[in-house]
């Protein structure tokens, strides 16, 4: 358990190999990622600070990361303008969002 210390940034990996490094606080807004990175859970993700998402491709994951930061930025504010989602990504993104619990 050498690398078990929690880092500021974590890595999300899409099924086509793209890696997204983002703030742990933002990543943990997604329930599934939060659980995977929960230090008490003992998952391998906690030691590697890296979450493989084999069901999500790079394009969708990029949008997810954008949303996570958008959510973090606007967490406190009211009447937030909706984030723009390209219609063609909608369905894939919806499935990803359901999986990630965001």
């Amino acid at each position: 358990m050498t690398g078990s210390k929690t880092t500021e940034y974590v890595t999300l990996v899409s099924n086509d190999g793209y890696e997204f490094k983002l703030l742990r606080s933002a990543a943990c807004l997604a329930g599934t990622i939060k659980k995977a990175l929960d230090p008490t859970s003992g998952f391998i993700e906690t030691t590697q600070n890296r979450v493989d998402l084999p069901t999500i491709n790079g394009v969708v994951l990029e949008k997810v990361c954008e949303y996570l930061y958008y959510n973090q930025k606007h967490a406190e504010s009211r009447d937030v303008s909706d984030m723009d989602i390209p219609p063609e990504l909608c369905l894939e993104l919806l499935i990803a969002a359901d999986y990630l619990d965001v």
Partner: protein, 614 residues
Amino acid sequence: MSGRRPRGAGIRGPHSALTDFLAANNISAQEIRDSYQQRVRQAEQEAAQTDDNGEGPSNGGAEVEEDLQAESSTMAAERTRKRKRDQDEAIAKIKKGKAAKKVQKKKQKKNSSDDDSDFEDVMDMYKKAKPLPGQLENCELCNKRFTVTPYSKAGPEGGLLCTPCGKEMVKDTKAEAKANKPVVRRGRRKMESNRLDGMTDCGPKTLQQLCIEKLAQHSEDIDELGEMPEGIMNRISEIFSKKRAMNSTTMKLFLQPDMDRVAIHEAAYLETEDYDQIFAICPNVKRLSLRNCCQFKDSNIDYMNEKARALEEIQLLGANLVSNDKWAELFIARGKDLKAFKVEWLDAAFDDEAVEALTTFCPNLERLKLERCKQIGPDSIDAIARLQHLKHLTLRFHDPITREKLTHLIRSIGTNLETLCLEHFLDNTSDPTDDVLATIHTTCTRLSKFRFTENNECTDAGYVNLFSHWSNPPLRYIDINSTRDLDNTNPDGPQESPIGLASAGFLALMTHSGPSLEFLDISSCRHISHETFTLVFDGVKQYPHLVEINLSFCPVVDTHVVAGIFRSCPLVKKVVTFGCFRVEDVRVPQGIVLIGAPRAQDLIEQFGEGSLDL
């Protein structure tokens, strides 16, 4: 080019691998030979000079020679580089010329009849021809050389830009367009609407919500939804229904052969054939829910009976084109498999005989909902009383039902009931009594949801009796709205024995069910006193599960009471106070939404900000 024969001349001598290699690396044998000969000649001259001077060969001469050699090699390198550039430029020029000629030819063809075509051609000559894709060009902004592609952007002066500069420019123009767009302000109406929808959280919407809303906007463009979790499918179906986007085309998105649940919450735009589609595509459907299915006809019932043999739960709202006989046929076809049956808003058919058929052929019904069906009356109550397996019962009759019938019903099937909803049950044949409540008190022991609304027959004492020492565990859901005296000349009701849920009854209710109550609706229970409210919601007593509470038209409710609710109910999300004119200037804690406070106009944003310590 000195050494090499011009290509294309047709004559080529034998080539060695070395020649090829040297040629490929721009090393010319001729040049090497030239420089060697030059060196030799110089050496001879120098030798002659030194001979003249009578001096022997010196080191200096050798040095000069070396310098010369070095110089010549650098010069050679430079020359080759320059030559290459010249060559490229020449090729580019030729290509450019060809392209220009082509354009001119085209123009000539086009304008051959025009007199001024020559003039135009002359003018064209002064213009710089734009390079075609594949050619090289200097970027207009950074002056770097780059290969032109079909995607190269035009610069501000009309020239072309290299890829990085082009990207930069696109970014700039996009940013400008964004800045020019007017800021969309969401109106107050939209905000109020959202609040009534219960969108309490102040942060951004969830990603799922965003996606679903976007999907609804583009409902016409979706070809297929694909594999979706059922919950999400239902959510999309709901929002399509809400936006009136559920039609023959979009409905098919929600039909998949392996589905066992079909729920179309707004089927008003669907045609008769569309309903047949449902059973053709999903023959395994177990749970069917169609609301406002106006075009659901006898033929659909026939088809459903034939195809959908696994149906267990049926909900049809407003299916007024189905005749009585067909209803009976449906019950015969489904028989003992039918577990749940819900119909609302039927006034053309579905009479007592249909209910009789339902209870006869479908004895295993666990869930029954009959609301606003005009043709059914007291006989149906007797028929329902025979359904021994009922767990959930919701009734709203149009005709008055005598109290005897109702108590008989509850006595017969009350013990198993988990849900009992009796709306608008009035008996105008005899004087009001609390018999119904007393029967519920003695019979029902498993209720978790209780609704008893819109009547002015039971007294406060009856409610006290119901909720005191009731062997039923605490309820989860209570709706006793609009139980009050209806005498315009005496709005406060009889002081001695109040009619409807009043102070004592409310106290008994909260004492009995408070620990697990999640939903409470006591709107229009006008006889509950302010003291009782402050006693129940004193901020010390806790109602740990209460999420939603409706106090509308309870005129005594004021700011103090609402604040008490915030402190007594840690999980509360929604407080409804329409018509509570004494609610003013409440500081709403975060995550709670207060709806309908009429006096709080200046504080219309009632989303919670403050902390709980008021």
